[in-house]
C-alpha cells in the first residue's frame, strides 16, 4: 500500500488545532518475500538512502530493516553537530554535499528537521591546535567552504559564556568558526525520511534483526535471514554503523572497523544561554543547547572496543570537568541523563561507501563519531551507488579497497573523537 503523507501546512495545523488527531506518519510494514533492494539499518543514513532511491531512481520496491526501532541507533543518540570543515578535498566534497542538502531539507521532506545554522566554534588550546585549525581554515577557503579564524576576544564575543581569562585551565588561543555549521533535531531527521520514503512505497520493518546473508552458488548476495523470516533481495545495502563488522562477517567479509562506545549527556533545561556549538577536540568536550533548553554535551569514546552501549562513567566525568573549566557558569547545573552509542571507526577516520567483494552486497559505514552531519549526503550518494551498481563520484574515493591500495583519506585531525 502506498499512501500519500499528510501535507503539513499552516492550514493542516489549524485543522488539527481544532481537535482532529494526527494520523500515523509512516506504515509499520510486514516483510514481503523479496524486494529489489533491502537496506539493513533504519538509522538516518539507511532511511535517507531509501528515500533517494525511491525519489531519484524510481526504485520503490525497497525494505529498510532494523533490529530495533527506527532511529534508535546512533541517529537518536548523537549530539547533532553539523559542519563541513574537514581537511581533504575528498572529504570537503562529501561533507559539503551534505551541508548543502541540510539547508533545504525541511522543505524537501515537508517535515521540520530544525536545522539551525547557529555556527560551530572549534577551540584551540595550544600551539598545535592553532596550527592545525589554521591549516583547516586555509584548506577550506581554497575549497570554497566557509571557515574563519577568530581571536580569543572574537570567540568570546561570538560565545559569551566562554571563559578566556588568563586563569583559564585550558587557555583559549583562538578558534575556527564555521558559521553555516549548527545542529538539527536528530529524531526528526529519521522520522522525516521515514515518512517521505514510506509515502513512496518503501517498507520500513522494525524489530527485524538480520541474522544471516544468503549467497547463491556464484557467491552473490541474494537475500537475508531475519528474525522475521528470510527475505530475498536483488541488492543489499548494509548501513548498520557500530554493528557493520558483525553483519559483514555474515557474508565472510572482514572490515577495517573497530566499534567503540561513545557517550553523550544532557543537563536540566535552562533558559537560552549557549548561542552556538562549541567543540574542543583537545579536551574532548562538545556543547550546544537544545530548543528544549537542555545543554547537550558530547564526551569521548571508551579506550577499548565494546558493544555495551553504555560507556565508562569516568569518560563522562572527564568531559564535565573540562566543560566546567571552559564555562564556569555551568558548574551548578545538574545532569539529567547520559547514554552511549556504538560507533564504527576506520583507521583513517573517513567513512566507507560503496561496493564490496561480494556481488550484490554494498556497504555504507565507518562514520564513527561524526556521521550525523553527513546523513542527507550519505543517503544521496549511496542511493546512486546502489541504483547504478557503481560508486557515485563523491563516494568513489571512500571505497573499501583504499585499505589495500593505501589511498587513505586521513581526517584524524578533523574528526579525532570529534564530530
Amino acid at each position: 500500500m502506498t499512501g500519500e503523507a499528510t501535507r503539513f501546512s499552516f492550514l493542516s495545523l489549524l485543522r488539527h488545532g481544532a481537535g482532529k488527531t494526527w494520523a500515523r506518519q509512516w506504515r509499520d510494514a510486514r516483510p514481503k518475500a523479496s524486494y529489489d533492494v533491502v537496506i539493513v539499518g533504519a538509522g538516518g543514513h539507511g532511511l535517507a538512502t531509501a528515500y533517494y532511491l525511491a525519489k531519484e531512481y524510481g526504485i520503490r520496491d525497497i525494505a529498510v530493516l532494523d533490529k530495533g526501532w527506527l532511529g534508535g541507533g546512533n541517529t537518536g543518540r548523537n549530539t547533532t553537530i553539523i559542519r563541513s570543515n574537514y581537511l581533504r578535498p575528498e572529504s570537503a566534497a562529501l561533507y559539503e554535499h551534505a551541508l548543502t542538502l541540510w539547508e533545504n531539507l525541511s522543505r524537501e521532506l515537508n517535515y521540520n528537521v530544525m536545522y539551525s545554522a547557529r555556527g560551530v566554534l572549534m577551540l584551540a588550546h595550544n600551539h598545535h591546535d592553532v596550527q592545525v585549525f589554521k591549516r583547516h581554515v586555509h584548506a577550506n577557503r581554497l575549497q570554497g567552504i566557509d571557515n574563519e579564524w577568530l581571536t580569543p576576544a572574537a570567540a568570546k564575543a561570538f560565545c559569551p559564556p566562554l571563559h578566556i581569562g588568563p586563569d583559564a585551565r585550558y587557555p583559549v588561543l583562538g578558534a575556527a568558526l564555521q558559521r553555516r555549521g549548527g545542529v538539527a533535531r536528530h529524531d526528526a531527521v529519521a522520522w522525516g525520511y521515514a515518512r517521505a520514503a514510506s509515502a513512496m512505497g518503501v517498507d520500513i520493518i522494525q524489530n527485524c534483526a538480520v541474522t544471516g546473508i544468503v549467497r547463491d552458488v556464484t557467491g552473490a548476495a541474494v537475500g537475508v535471514e531475519t528474525t522475521r523470516g528470510p527475505i530475498g533481495a536483488a541488492r543489499i545495502g548494509v548501513v548498520a554503523a557500530g554493528h557493520t563488522s558483525v553483519l559483514m562477517a555474515m557474508a565472510g567479509v572482514r572490515m577495517p572497523l573497530e566499534s567503540f562506545p561513545l557517550q553523550a549527556l544532557v543537563s536540566e533545561p535552562v533558559k537560552p544561554v549557549m548561542p552556538c556549538v562549541v567543540m574542543s577536540n583537545t579536551v574532548h568536550a562538545y556543547i550546544s543547547q537544545s530548543d528544549k533548553g537542555e545543554l547537550v554535551i558530547g564526551a569521548g569514546t571508551d579506550a577499548y572496543t565494546s558493544y555495551s552501549q553504555a560507556g565508562g562513567l569516568h569518560i563522562a566525568c572527564e568531559t564535565l570537568e573540562a566543560i566546567c573549566e571552559m564555562f564556569p557558569r555551568f558548574r551548578r547545573l545538574r545532569m539529567l541523563r547520559n547514554w552511549g552509542g556504538i560507533v564504527d571507526t576506520t583507521p583513517d577516520r573517513s567513512p566507507i561507501i560503496g561496493l564490496t567483494p561480494v556481488p550484490g552486497l554494498f556497504v555504507n559505514c565507518g562514520w564513527g563519531t561524526g556521521g550525523f552531519k553527513a546523513t542527507p549526503g550519505s543517503g544521496h550518494i549511496f542511493a546512486a551507488t546502489l541504483a547504478l551498481g557503481e560508486p557515485h563520484p563523491i563516494a568513489a574515493p571512500f571505497s573499501l579497497d583504499r585499505f589495500a591500495t593505501g589511498r587513505l583519506i586521513d581526517e584524524a585531525a578533523a574528526a579525532a573523537v570529534a564530530h
Binding site: V246, E258, S306, Y307, S308, L313, H314, A404, T405, G406
Partner: protein
C-alpha cells in the same frame, strides 16, 4: 571503569592500563613478499566481534608489562588474563 586483573599485580582500575587492540596479529616476516591486500589486511582488518575478544593490554601505570586479555565485548566481563607466551583457552 573496568577492573582488570594484571597477571602480575592483580586487579587494578582500568585507568592504570593502556588498551592495545586485537591480540595475535603477526607482522609478515617478509613484507615485500606480501600482496597489497595482504599487507592492508595485516594493518587494518580487525575481527571486531560481538562477544569473545582476545586483546592486548599494557599495565602502563603499574608494572609496565604487556599481557593478553579475554573479554566479552557485549558484557565487558573479563574471562581471563594471560602472560605473554601462555596459552589462551
Amino acid at each position: 571503569m573496568l577492573r582488570i586483573p594484571c597477571p602480575w599485580c592483580g586487579p587494578r582500575p582500568e585507568n592504570e592500563f593502556r588498551y592495545g587492540g586485537q591480540a595475535g596479529l603477526i607482522r609478515p616476516a617478509n613484507p615485500a613478499a606480501v600482496s597489497d591486500a595482504g599487507w592492508g589486511g595485516y594493518l587494518y582488518l580487525r575481527a571486531n566481534p560481538r562477544g569473545r575478544h582476545v586483546e592486548r593490554w599494557r599495565h602502563l601505570h603499574g608494572c609496565g608489562r604487556f599481557f593478553t586479555c579475554v573479554r566479552d565485548t557485549v558484557t565487558d566481563r573479563i574471562a581471563s588474563t594471560h602472560k605473554p607466551g601462555e596459552a589462551v583457552p
